[in-house]
């Protein structure tokens, strides 16, 4: 039981990273950034290609994260930024993001094929932490995720740029009126989002392997975490991501792995309803 919990916690950390990646863009821009699924898929292939070219592990991971940042910044610079200037509504951004997602996935299929791949050959080394057995990839992934999330929390809470970033997430219009460079901050949000999605992709790919269609499933679960946990707060996504990871592991243990998605989304529906029913009453025009 403890092993299942630990497994869920580790995978929840990966989901939390991805949920924060989504929330970092969603809160300030209201862009439903489904293209993260494409970035999540693309990055492990870049890492794998670097490894095949003889790069070291750290250098390959670095290239992967850099490619995630580039792809995400490209999304803002070429797609969402210009659309924002045209005052496109959220549905338009969603459709554009969906298009970008499809393009990225198909590029992966055309270049690397549709076969499942892995960074290593054979089974992973097992390590024991406090009586719980974890694979080496899980253990290092969890440590990296905790460090990244803690670093991000400290940066957002205590740095000058982090404060501006929080303000961007809370009220972008007010920040623009205060004379801040919103476009630069938006680019930064997309860059952070790309980096977090890449880190999460590497974490999952190291543990479970990867294929071109793994991105959408992972991102949808992260979206669920972000929509429920981070509709009003950046770090709600972290908590909800971890909770979803644990619940999915338990659902897989009690029922079967195939019930994980229905259970996750049933909880999502339930929480969305509860949030709506118990939230403060809004004016009719605000609904």
């Amino acid at each position: 039981m403890v092993a299942i919990f630990a497994d869920g916690f580790v995978s929840g950390l990966g989901t939390a990273l991805l949920a924060v990646a989504f929330a970092v863009v969603y809160l300030p821009t209201r862009v439903f950034y489904i293209a993260l699924g494409g970035i999540f898929t693309f990055v492990p292939y870049v890492v794998w290609a670097c490894m095949m070219a003889g790069f070291g592990v750290i250098a390959s991971f670095g290239c992967g994260i850099f490619s995630g940042i580039i792809l995400s910044v490209l999304a803002e610079a070429v797609l969402h930024g210009p659309l924002e200037q045209r005052k496109t509504a959220t549905d338009g951004h969603f459709v554009c993001s969906l298009g970008y997602y499809i393009v990225l996935i198909q590029i992966v299929c055309l270049i690397w094929g549709t076969q499942k791949k892995a960074f290593r050959l054979g089974a992973d080394v097992m390590t024991e932490v406090g009586g719980v057995r974890l694979s080496f990839a899980q253990f290092t992934g969890a440590i990296a995720a905790i460090l990244i999330l803690t670093g991000f929390y400290l940066w957002v809470q205590h740095s000058r740029l982090g404060t501006q970033f929080r303000a961007l997430a809370d009220n972008p219009r007010e920040l623009a009126l205060a004379g801040r460079d919103i476009r630069a901050l938006r680019l930064l949000a997309f860059a952070i989002s790309g980096a977090f999605a890449a880190a999460s992709a590497i974490m999952f790919a190291s543990d479970l392997g990867f294929h071109p269609y793994s991105g959408l499933d992972a991102v949808l679960i992260a979206l669920a975490a972000a929509m429920v946990g981070a509709r009003w707060s950046l770090f709600g996504a972290v908590g909800m991501g971890i909770v979803i990871g644990i619940v999915r592991a338990q659902a897989g243990f009690v029922f079967s792995a195939q019930w994980q998605d229905p259970v996750t989304f049933l909880i999502l529906i339930g929480v969305l309803w509860l949030q709506e029913v118990f939230s403060a009453k809004r004016r009719l025009e605000a609904v």
Partner: protein
């Protein structure tokens, strides 16, 4: 000739689906990713009614439409409170749950059609009855159903009810201010839209004679949403344009001597590129009226 008939049948199925999405997205203004779920409800209902109960084509199709229309209540009640991104998320959740039910409602060796095994899990249901025996006749049947659906859409959407839907899409608050029943309008429109998706699903199951959970996969919802958006929504011509494009693009690529696997990836790649270009240069799609921007 056989291949042309095959394409015609698929065109009809896609066009009915696009009409279904046209009602939900183009007229109600709610982007949804649950269409493959309702398509699957139609396909499975038809399969179970024809294989287990021995029902004929029309009652089996009607059963699928009724079940799907009832299941649409989950979405329409959600639409009372949610819109935009949250509604998209909600539709995604509904789709995931329907897919989960299709995959999981089957226990080991239990007989198909019992409460322990209603969908036969990943194996799916085979030997589904085909109402006609030749492909030509099936194409005529599919064309007739598509034509019927188009006439029904035209009548419904040109009626005062259709104008209420348009007004609801453009300014729900103003419509409520005028004392119109917005909630029930959503219920009826969603039931109609999901019923159409179920009709397409039933037709698909009857044509192939086999159905498995992959019909409820999210990829299909995404693909069909692309088809509807690229074709255009908010009128009756857009869905036909979208369905034609979905069908003709692979043929054009095949004509360009591309290997089938590459052509399949290229087709989807072009769909993605079209979606992006549409958002910038023609948000109403090829011949639609509703702009998704």
């Amino acid at each position: 000739m056989n291949y042309l008939l095959h394409l015609t049948i698929y065109f009809c199925i896609y066009a009915i689906l696009a009409m279904s999405l046209n009602v939900m997205v183009g007229y109600c203004g709610r982007l949804t990713l649950a269409s493959s779920g309702y398509f699957a409800i139609g396909a499975y209902s038809y399969a179970l009614a024809s294989v287990l109960l021995g029902w004929h084509f029309v009652p089996a199709i009607l059963l699928g439409i009724i079940i799907s229309a009832l299941a649409s209540l989950v979405l329409s009640v959600a639409a009372w409170r949610f819109k935009g991104d949250v509604f998209v998320m909600f539709s995604l959740a509904v789709q995931a749950i329907i897919l989960g039910v299709c995959v999981n409602w089957a226990v080991g060796s239990a007989e198909l059609g019992t409460w322990a095994n209603l969908t036969n899990g990943p194996l799916g249901i085979s030997s589904i009855a085909n109402p006609v025996h030749t492909r030509g006749n099936f194409a005529i049947l599919a064309l007739a159903l598509m034509g019927g659906a188009a006439v029904l859409c035209r009548l419904l959407l040109a009626s005062p009810f259709g104008r209420i839907l348009l007004a609801m899409r453009d300014d729900e608050l103003a419509l409520r201010g005028l004392g119109k029943g917005v909630k029930m309008a959503k219920v009826y429109a969603f039931a109609f839209s999901c019923g159409l998706a179920a009709l397409a699903g039933s037709l698909y199951a009857a044509y192939l004679g086999y159905v498995n959970p992959s019909v409820a996969a999210l990829d299909f919802s995404v693909l069909w949403l692309c088809m509807a958006i690229i074709g255009g929504m908010g009128n009756l011509y857009g869905p036909f344009a979208g369905a034609a494009l979905l069908l003709l693009l692979p043929e054009v690529l095949r004509f360009a001597q591309m290997p089938t696997a590459v052509a399949d990836d290229m087709r989807l790649l072009l769909y993605g590129v079209f979606l992006i270009l549409m958002t910038f240069f023609r948000p109403q799609g090829i011949c639609g009226r509703y702009r998704v921007d």
